[in-house]
Symmetry: C2
Amino acid sequence: MWLRPQRTSRGEPPLSRARIVEAVVALLDEEGIDRLTMRRLAERLAVMAPSLYWHVDTKDDVIDLAVDAIFGEAPPAADRTGDWRAEVTAVLTAWRATLLRHPWAAAVPARRRPTIGPHFLAWMEMLHATLVRAGFTEKGLSAATWALYNHVMGSAASETALHITDEERRLGQEQLRANSDRYPTLAERGYLYDDDWDGSFTTGLGYLLDGLEAQLKQAP
Amino acid sequence: MWLRPQRTSRGEPPLSRARIVEAVVALLDEEGIDRLTMRRLAERLAVMAPSLYWHVDTKDDVIDLAVDAIFGEAPPAADRTGDWRAEVTAVLTAWRATLLRHPWAAAVPARRRPTIGPHFLAWMEMLHATLVRAGFTEKGLSAATWALYNHVMGSAASETALHITDEERRLGQEQLRANSDRYPTLAERGYLYDDDWDGSFTTGLGYLLDGLEAQLKQAP
DNA sequence: TCGTCTTCTCTAACATAGTTAGGCAATTAC
DNA sequence: GTAATTGCCTAACTATGTTAGAGAAGACGA
């Protein structure tokens, strides 16, 4: 008994959901989602893995908490300029920045249940409210929301998942050229040739907003 | 020796990469990606798990093969009507149908390396070529490709991942209403309220195409 | 025809994972 | 002061991806 280390003398605060969340985000940022294990997470908290299960039900819960946590870092700004295009752009740009700060995050929702954490919902509320004020209703609102949602999430997911090295890019180009009969356009222009993700996001968002604006003017 | 069953007398064709691909797609379709294990896949082929590794390097390879295989089922149609909007719509609609036939597929690329299987590349070539014929070049082409890519993949991923039961939807609505001060718009209109995925896809695609068309007319 | 080589599957096993059971100290509640 | 609760621990179970190495069947050359 006397040989065992005293728990409270470790100097660190006891385990708590908040500390777990903090630790898992740090772990994901530093090592990526493949290296997230309950044991590694526990180690970071100077605790044994099963202890985590007192505060959390499953590993999936931990991931859900992590995703919601990053959306809580920078709550959506709410400057109602009256210019809905600018507002949507601002929301989505900040949204995207959050996802890129935590490159593991964009891929998570695609594979799992709907994200319904409070912080994420705040962003969704922001986007939704802006579109409602812009004049969208019913099906148009739904389609606009999903299109914009897919654009942010998709572009962030693409950017973070599709990173390849120069060597891989070179090899890919080689393969394409070797099969230029099957892929003439790709062989000529390249595939995954463009690294200007910011530009693609912004330009693509512009396309979408142009289309949305036209829709609004047509049926207001 | 004589007691052991003879291998070739099992009546089934021997293991091959093609048979593995066929089996993994069936397994994924029937049981989903969470239930894909090398042992279960092997069982389906009346083989022990380690035997698979003669034909395949890792489990990820198997998944890559599966994804590419489904894109080979229905090779992209190539009716060049001259109407690029109709052509893009046709390609993306078929693309989406493929993803929805195999609900596990849309989530895969988001998490992994770029898809560069031959069948998938054929679809990408189709989309790319259509946009090139429509008049897109350089940055605009890249942005258009990614925007459309994200729209198909994203909408299919959303549709297949975000399915919730009526009970869950009811509970979610309840939660939102209980917090209607934080989420006024969502509480009123609902979140995940709309099941018209087809409609959202088509309408959203319309927005995008409108925006793309405007861009083309502006700077041809 | 014999032996050797290649091909392919098997058995056995390892390391790592998520998760559960149950114990035990510290703290809190009465 | 005793009893209940909290919250962490050790030990262990099951599942999974993957490797090592044995061995059978056929191919192939002498």
